[in-house]
C-alpha cells in the first residue's frame, strides 16, 4: 500500500500543474497579507481607546443576554464572552490588535478556502485523468486489487490537502512576521471556571484544523464525482458550485429542521470559534457526526462504482 501511495505521489508531483498550484497558494497568501498591510497604512485612522471599545462590546453582550429566547448552549457562550470582557477591564489587559502579528497568525483559516480550491482540482483529476489518458488499463491490469488502488489515490488527495494547509500556515507565519508588528494585546478565553490566556500558536493550529474539515469534505465529494463520472471538469465544477452555494442554501433553509442534516451546514467548523451562526442549536460533536456520515456515503459510492466498472474504452 505504501508503494502505491508513493506512486500516486510521484505522479502528482510530476505534473507541472501541481507545482504551479502550490506556488499560487504561497503567492495568494503573501498577496493577501500585502494587501491588508497596504489597506491598513492607507486608512491610518485615529487609534481608538481599547477600554472604550471593550466597554461598548460589553454593553451589547449584556443586552444579548437579556433575550429570553436564547438556547442554553448559546447563553453559555455569551456568558463566557461577558466574563472575558469584564476580566479585561478589571485587569487592564488589552485585546489583540486587529492589525497585529498575533491576530494574523491566529486568523490563518483563510488558507482553508484556497486549499479547498486546489485540493478539489487534484481530487477531481486523480481518478478521472487515468481514464482520459487511457493509463487506467495499465494501472488495473496489475496484481493489485482495485480497492487498494483507489485507497492509495484517496490517501494521496488527503495528504496533498494536509500539505497545502501546512505550507499555507508556514507561509502565513512568515508573512505575519515580515509584514506586521507585534501588538501588546493578549488573547483570553473563558474555560468554564476562569478566564485563561490562549497561546496564539495553539489557537492558530486549531483554526487550521477546523478549516481542514472543509477541505476534507469537499475533496471527498470531488473525488466521488471524479471517479463515478470519470470527468474531472464536471467534478471540479460541481464541487466548487456546491462549495460556494452551500452557505446560500443553508441560509434559505435555516428556518427548517432539515437544515441540521445538510452537509453544508457543518462544512465550516470555524463557526464554533466565531460569534456568528446561521443555524442555532447545533454543536461540534453533532457537526462532526453529520460530516462523518456524509464522508462514508461519498466513499461508499466511489468504491462500489470503481470496483465494479468494466474498463472498455
Amino acid at each position: 500500500m505504501l508503494r502505491l501511495i508513493q506512486n500516486e505521489w510521484m505522479k502528482l508531483w510530476s505534473k507541472k500543474g501541481t507545482w504551479v498550484m502550490t506556488g499560487l497558494l504561497v503567492l495568494a497568501i503573501l498577496g493577501m497579507f500585502g494587501l491588508t498591510k497596504w489597506v491598513n497604512t492607507m486608512n491610518n485612522s485615529e487609534e481608538q481607546d481599547w477600554k472604550m471599545s471593550v466597554q461598548n462590546e460589553l454593553t451589547y453582550v449584556k443586552e444579548d443576554l437579556n433575550n429570553p429566547e436564547l438556547v442554553k448552549s448559546e447563553k453559555e457562550r455569551i456568558e463566557g464572552k461577558e466574563k472575558v470582557l469584564e476580566y479585561r477591564l478589571a485587569n487592564s489587559i488589552e485585546p489583540l490588535s486587529e492589525t497585529g502579528r498575533e491576530k494574523m497568525i491566529m486568523g490563518s483559516s483563510g488558507i482553508g478556502s484556497i486549499a479547498v480550491l486546489l485540493t478539489v482540482i487534484v481530487a477531481a483529476g486523480i481518478v478521472a485523468s487515468e481514464f482520459t489518458q487511457g493509463s487506467i488499463k495499465m494501472l488495473l491490469s496489475r496484481p493489485v486489487k482495485r480497492w487498494k488502488i483507489l485507497t492509495s489515490k484517496y490517501v494521496t488527495v488527503i495528504l496533498f490537502g494536509i500539505l497545502l494547509m501546512l505550507v499555507g500556515f508556514i507561509v502565513s507565519i512568515l508573512g505575519a512576521f515580515i509584514f506586521f508588528q507585534s501588538g501588546n494585546g493578549q488573547e483570553l478565553v473563558w474555560n468554564g471556571k476562569e478566564v485563561v490566556e490562549v497561546s496564539i500558536w495553539g489557537k492558530g493550529l486549531y483554526m487550521l484544523l477546523l478549516s481542514f474539515a472543509n477541505v476534507f469534505v469537499t475533496a471527498t465529494f470531488a473525488f466521488m464525482i471524479g471517479s463515478v463520472f470519470r470527468s474531472s471538469s464536471l467534478a471540479i465544477g460541481l464541487s466548487l458550485f456546491i462549495y460556494f452555494m452551500g452557505s446560500t442554501l443553508v441560509m434559505l433553509l435555516a428556518r427548517y429542521e432539515i437544515v441540521k442534516y445538510i452537509v453544508f451546514t457543518h462544512m465550516d467548523l470555524t463557526i464554533y470559534e466565531s460569534d456568528f451562526r446561521i443555524v442555532e442549536g447545533i454543536t461540534m460533536p453533532f457537526s462532526l457526526a453529520v460530516l462523518a456520515v456524509y464522508i462514508v456515503i461519498f466513499l461508499f459510492i466511489s468504491y462500489t462504482t470503481f470496483i465494479k466498472r468494466d474498463i472498455t474504452a
Binding site: L4, M10, K11, K137, M138, S141, R142, P143, V144, D310
Partner: protein, 307 residues
C-alpha cells in the same frame, strides 16, 4: 500436448446488455508456446483479453491461471501475467524510467537492477530518462514491452504489439518473443490483425468469430506436405496422378496434390516415363490469409465490418 496449461479459459462468456459478446469460449495456452489470436473486427478479441487481465468481469465461466481461479485470487493470478493492452498508454508527463518504476512498485520483488536489465533488453538505455511525451510510437511500444516483462511473467498477453514498430523493430520483437518462449518457457498470447506477422511468430493460432472459437491449429500442421505440380497435357496428367492415389486439386495451370516428400522423385520418374512435359514441381504452402478466410468465411468479415 502433455504439458500442463498455464492459462485455461473454461466456458468463458460475456454479455453486455442483451448481446453475447463472448459465447462459451474454451482455450488452453501452454508454456513455451506462442499462440496467435485472430478474428475479424468486433469478434471479441479485445473483450477476451480484457477479461483475462481483470479489466472486465466475465458474465460466466472461469479463467484459470497457473492452476488457480483468477476470480478466487486475483493478485496471485495476475502476478504471473504481463500485459500490453493495445497501445501502451504510459504517463506521458513522466520519464520512461519513472513509468517503469511506477509499474515495478505494483509487483513484488522487482529490483532496481532488474529495471536496468529490462531497459537494456529493449534497447532504451539512451533515452529512458526523457519524458514519454517526446517518444515516438515505436519507442512507446518498447517501453510497453519493458513494463510487461519487468516481473518475469509466466504468461504474456499482447494486443496488437507490433503496431508502430519499424521493420527492424518488428523483427527484433519477434526474435525476443521466441527467445523468452523457448528459453524461459513463457506462454505468449498475441492478438493481431497482421496475419503475416502472426504467421512468422506463432506456433499455434486460435481463431475467434462472433464471440465463438472457430478453430485452433498448430502452425506446423498447416505446413504439411502439399505440392504444386504443372504437367502437360493436363487431362492425362490428372488421370495419372489419380491413378497413383494422390488427392488432386486444380490450381492455376496445374494441380495441388497432397504428397510426402519421399514420394516426389518416384512421381517425377513416372511422369518422365510417360513422356509428359513437366514444368514445375514445388512445395505448396497455403498462406495464413487463405486459411483465415477459409475458416471465418470471407463474407462474414464484411458483415462484421458493416456493423
Amino acid at each position: 500436448m502433455e504439458m500442463k496449461p498455464v492459462v485455461e479459459l473454461k466456458n468463458l462468456s460475456k454479455t453486455i446488455g442483451k448481446k453475447k459478446i463472448i459465447d462459451n469460449l474454451n482455450l488452453s495456452l501452454y508454456p513455451g508456446q506462442i499462440t496467435g489470436f485472430l478474428g475479424p473486427n468486433g469478434a471479441g478479441k479485445t473483450t477476451t483479453i480484457r477479461m483475462m487481465v481483470g479489466l472486465m468481469e466475465p458474465s460466466g465461466g472461469d479463467i484459470v491461471i497457473d492452476g488457480k481461479l483468477l476470480a478466487d485470487d486475483f493478485e496471485v493470478g495476475l502476478s504471473k501475467v504481463g500485459v500490453i493492452v493495445e497501445n501502451p498508454e504510459m504517463y506521458k508527463f513522466m520519464s520512461g524510467y519513472k513509468n517503469l518504476l511506477h509499474f515495478a512498485r505494483m509487483h513484488d520483488g522487482v529490483t532496481k537492477t532488474r529495471i536496468e536489465e529490462v531497459i537494456n533488453q529493449v534497447g532504451m538505455q539512451n533515452r529512458i530518462h526523457e519524458k514519454v511525451s517526446t517518444y515516438s510510437l515505436g519507442m512507446r511500444q518498447r517501453l510497453g514491452l519493458a513494463q510487461a516483462i519487468l516481473h518475469r511473467p509466466k504468461f504474456l498477453i499482447l494486443d496488437e504489439p507490433t503496431n508502430g514498430l519499424d521493420p527492424a523493430g518488428i523483427r527484433e520483437f519477434r526474435t525476443y518473443l521466441k527467445m523468452i518462449a523457448e528459453k524461459e518457457g513463457v506462454s505468449v498470447f498475441v492478438s493481431s490483425h497482421m496475419l503475416s506477422e502472426i504467421e512468422l511468430m506463432c506456433d499455434r493460432i486460435a481463431v475467434i468469430q462472433n464471440g465463438k472459437l472457430v478453430d485452433i491449429r498448430e502452425m506446423s500442421e498447416t505446413q504439411e506436405s502439399h505440392y504444386y505440380i504443372e504437367i502437360f497435357p493436363t487431362e492425362t496428367a490428372e488421370s495419372l496422378l489419380k491413378a497413383e492415389g494422390f488427392a488432386v486439386e486444380a490450381h492455376n495451370d496445374g494441380f495441388i496434390i497432397k504428397a510426402e516428400k519421399t514420394q516426389i522423385p518416384g512421381l517425377v520418374q513416372q511422369i518422365a516415363a510417360n513422356e509428359m512435359q513437366l514444368f514445375a514441381v514445388h512445395p505448396h504452402r497455403k498462406t495464413l490469409e487463405d486459411q483465415f478466410l477459409e475458416m471465418t468465411g470471407g463474407g462474414q468479415i464484411a458483415e462484421a465490418h458493416t456493423k
